[in-house]
Subunit: 568 residues, 2 copies
């Protein structure tokens, strides 16, 4: 349907701008586009006319016909269109069949894949020409810049409406915009793109998140470690990442051309802490965790706010255990993930599912590790998902060559799917680094390694949290929890007293002192802090606060004690 | 005296090994050495003989004579010694005077600087031939390897004894040795030298130290920030560090030869957080702090344990303030430093002093910033030192060109001086980055920046702490505070119960389960954990612990509550 609409748009454009050269026009997620060379390009304001023309033409599009033609016949048809001719030449060179598709009198060079009866199957209220942009012919900046016109298309008007609303909501929630407004992070031209600098408020939030992760993990016996960010290349040559990451690795050069590399992963370093002492079967499992920063050289053009950065802070942990401890350890990780996301209210039924990546049973030879360990591990993972009552999908062939894994998939407040927590078994890396432990019978054995992340990349997690909550964070995560609004200069002293009392209770409060009370209330509202307390004559006299909640509206006058007890 | 002893050693060596070729022999800190080419090199066991020979020869060394000679005369004298001839050739080439120094019948090519009467002025009980090592002629590895023999020399026997004992004590306290024994950090050949990996115990300790620093600073209004470790070179070109650090900077290369640099300082990044929002005089001071990692490419040969590393974790803070706030801010920093070091018992009278680095009053033109600001600042720093009753020395001309500073100097448990905390005013960097704030009159002003560190480099600080305490850390800093020793298998359950109770109180405890109680006690003693609690039949019956303290010996049986209250 979306592909058909791309043709229909090309037909409409040619009706209005007859000397336009259409090039290519595919279906994309949620819609379609078509790239044109215009002699005089239209503006955004001309798009409604194009959309109207499409609707006008649609009734005549009652069927699609196609025919095979020779390259010469095709070239004949597109004699004034060098783009189509270039495509035809290529098809001819590769010896491929050349087909033309026609509907409503409009013919295009096309491989097919259309609605049988566009007029019957397209709801004119369910598509929309949305915007335009420049695009190089075939994506190559050496080629001519064309005009790309985009459209949205769904089966029903309701779906289109829902999507458009979701897009608008997403725009409002955009973490780049909110991050600036709430002063959570910043970028500097001198530092460069993809390298966020966390301001005090953003640092506090990421610290609170890490603290929560650490707190949850302490009960599971995890220990924090800290590793250097650079290493000799030998570490990643041994682990295999040197080849795998290729030119995404940042190379570091020291004196006398000494070579180092910025770490793209934390696991190889953690193996070296494991290897720093002889280990016995009694010492296992050993569980190392940290907020480890890894570096990936993404193309500057791919960088976007916190969603894609060059320095990625991972809440990364690695468990070294015996094969018989795998099930227990994974269970602990699943519990930790559930505990963590519950604290964000993100674990409601239907809001998440787990992708269980297992071996391709047809190609067992592609995987490392014995059949027995694979079968036990996959069964263990599946059993845990079942026991924990988690909706899961078995993804055959999706496992890494070194082990099966569980990925937690969440739907955020506006329905977007986000991959966050993960637990991956690894039968490979311990071998590559020659890790071992002495078993109860005195023999040397290789431990299993489990890679796990709860929040994943702290940058991406923060972008998800900002957008999920639209900046209105839960009480415990709000950088400022309570805003005090003294009505006038004479109430400032009382405000200071309340501030100190709140801080003593470990709460984070601020006093706003803009010129007018109205402005103070407005700025509180923009800040999305959970509570505002107005402090005037009445409150000073009664030793109270007049409380307004971001989420629950006016709560009225109450004592400091009552407020502290009820704030959440 | 030390130079004279080098001659005396050469004379003694020639008596015992007549066909030896002496080369050069200078005085060094605490002693002397001499480099020889032996036909058959002596072993360490021959050193006492050399020392004895020195003492035997000394009575005949009652005066030093010298004479100027021509190059030819000198060459004649050292006809079989190519090393001396090489030195003579060079002196000749430079047109320098050639002198020979003689005592007790031993003559050496020498510039002079000797005791008038060695026999009278050297106490034979105050020097000692200590050890030997290989050394390339003139330090160049392309040259022949010579044998260097070292000696210690002091004015009195007591000084020698004290120094030797201090050396032995330092050896016992060596943080590289203790760090391994106490499992605090490790190095990996795959990662490279100068890049420590912190194990769980070491990570816990550095976290505790940072927490203490943060806790102290919260009351002073400091805010944590977090910055990326790499940046475009532009940041350091703007700050001036690009030129200053030269080849100590680690260069980072990305795709398409994109250039980055590993940060050698945190301050330029912090300026970018300041610059991310307009600031008013009312917003100041702004105080940013973090455990920021900086990178310096030290020569591999200079790296040593944690004392000198390539990735340095700084407890770094930068205060941006108005000129009229300098005094108050420095006062807060001094208070914070005192509070911090008091918690380590390192602030006793006579154990520390402050170096106050001020301008060279003769060359005011070399410094940046107005006379008025310099004078006010220097006065403020001095006044604070006086008010706080700190011993300080005014070091004229020692200030950086960008501002005066205070450095805290400490003496560790065995008397070594260590520079730790610092506060530096900076009138330069805010200008270079164009930082500003809007003053009360609406004008734009440049803030002053204060760089401050409390522990300084966390790596160096940890090495100082390990050696200062010889691994027996204060209770609050001990990675494991309490070791539980169940007498036999039947007492393990009770030990688990006690462990949980201690952990619930936020104490860090472990259960040792080696084969014999004797071994358990021995390993506790090696671990230097503050307390061991023996748990046997008696203790289970009475619901008690039998406590032994690392510092206070056997404390006897007591209830868990009493132990928790008294543990410190």
């Amino acid at each position: 349907m979306r592909h058909t609409l791309a043709h229909l748009m090309a037909a409409a454009v040619l009706e209005i701008y007859p000397d336009t050269k259409p090039t290519i026009g595919p279906a994309i997620e949620n819609g379609f586009y078509y790239d044109f060379e215009f002699s005089i390009a239209p503006g955004e304001s001309d798009l409604p006319q194009i959309e109207a023309k499409m609707k006008e033409l649609l009734p005549s599009w009652t069927e699609f016909t196609h025919k095979e033609v020779s390259a010469d016949e095709a070239r004949e048809l597109f004699t004034n269109n060098p783009y189509k001719k270039e495509l035809i030449d290529e098809l001819e060179e590769k010896g491929e069949t050349i087909t033309l598709y026609t509907s409503g009198g409009f013919t295009d060079l096309c491989r097919g894949g259309h609605l049988e009866n566009p007029n019957r199957d397209i709801d004119t209220r369910a598509f929309k020409v949305t915007h335009m942009a420049g695009a190089y012919w075939r994506g190559d900046e050496k080629n001519k810049m064309l005009t790309r016109i985009y459209g949205l298309a769904f089966n029903t008007k309701a779906e289109l409406k829902e999507y458009v609303e979701m897009q608008e909501e997403a725009k409002k929630r955009d973490h780049r915009k909110l991050g600036k407004e709430l002063d959570l992070f910043t970028f500097s031209d001198l530092v460069g793109p993809g390298l966020p600098l966390w301001t005090p408020k953003g640092t506090l939030m990421t610290d609170l998140i890490m603290e929560k992760i650490m707190d949850i993990h302490k009960t599971y016996g995890y220990q924090k470690v800290r590793i250097p960010h650079i290493t000799k290349p030998e570490l990643y040559k041994t682990s295999g990442h040197w080849d795998k990451f290729g030119d995404e690795l940042f190379k570091v050069t020291g004196k006398n051309n000494a070579e180092f590399v910025l770490k793209p992963m934390n696991c190889p370093h953690h193996t070296q802490i494991y290897a720093s002492n002889p280990r016995s079967y009694r010492d296992l499992p050993l569980r190392y965790m940290e907020l480890g920063v890894v570096y990936r050289d993404e193309q500057a053009g791919e960088l976007s706010g916190l969603s894609r950065v060059r320095s990625i802070s991972m809440d990364d942990a690695h468990v070294f255990c015996r094969p018989d401890q795998i099930e227990d350890e994974i269970k602990k990780i699943v519990s930790a993930i559930k505990e963590f996301y519950t604290s964000f209210g993100m674990l409601e039924e239907g809001k998440y599912w787990v992708s269980l990546s297992v071996r391709d049973p047809e190609h067992k030879e592609k995987y490392l590790g014995s059949d027995e360990v694979w079968e036990t591990s996959e069964e263990a993972l599946e059993k845990i998902a079942q026991e924990e009552g988690i909706t899961y999908k078995r993804m055959e062939g999706e496992a890494a060559f070194y082990g099966p894994k569980l990925d937690f998939m969440f739907h955020d407040a506006i329905g977007r799917e986000r991959q966050l927590g993960t637990a991956q078994l690894d039968f490979n890396m311990p071998k590559r680094f020659g890790l071992e432990y002495t078993d109860s019978d005195g023999s040397k054995q290789t431990p299993v390694m489990i890679h796990r992340a709860i929040a994943g990349s702290m940058e991406r997690f923060m972008s998800v949290m900002i957008e999920h909550f639209a900046g209105a964070f839960p009480f415990w995560l709000s950088p400022v929890q309570i805003t005090l609004l003294p009505v006038s200069e004479t109430h400032k002293e009382y405000a200071e007293k309340i501030l100190n009392a709140l801080e003593e209770k470990g709460l984070r409060a601020e006093i706003r002192t803009e010129e007018t009370l109205g402005k103070r209330i407005r700025n509180w509202s923009i800040s999305k802090n959970p509570y505002a307390c107005v402090l005037g004559d009445e409150e000073v006299k009664n030793n109270t606060l007049s409380v307004e909640s971001r989420d629950e509206g006016k709560l009225g006058e109450m004592s400091l004690e009552d407020f502290i007890t009820s704030a959440h």
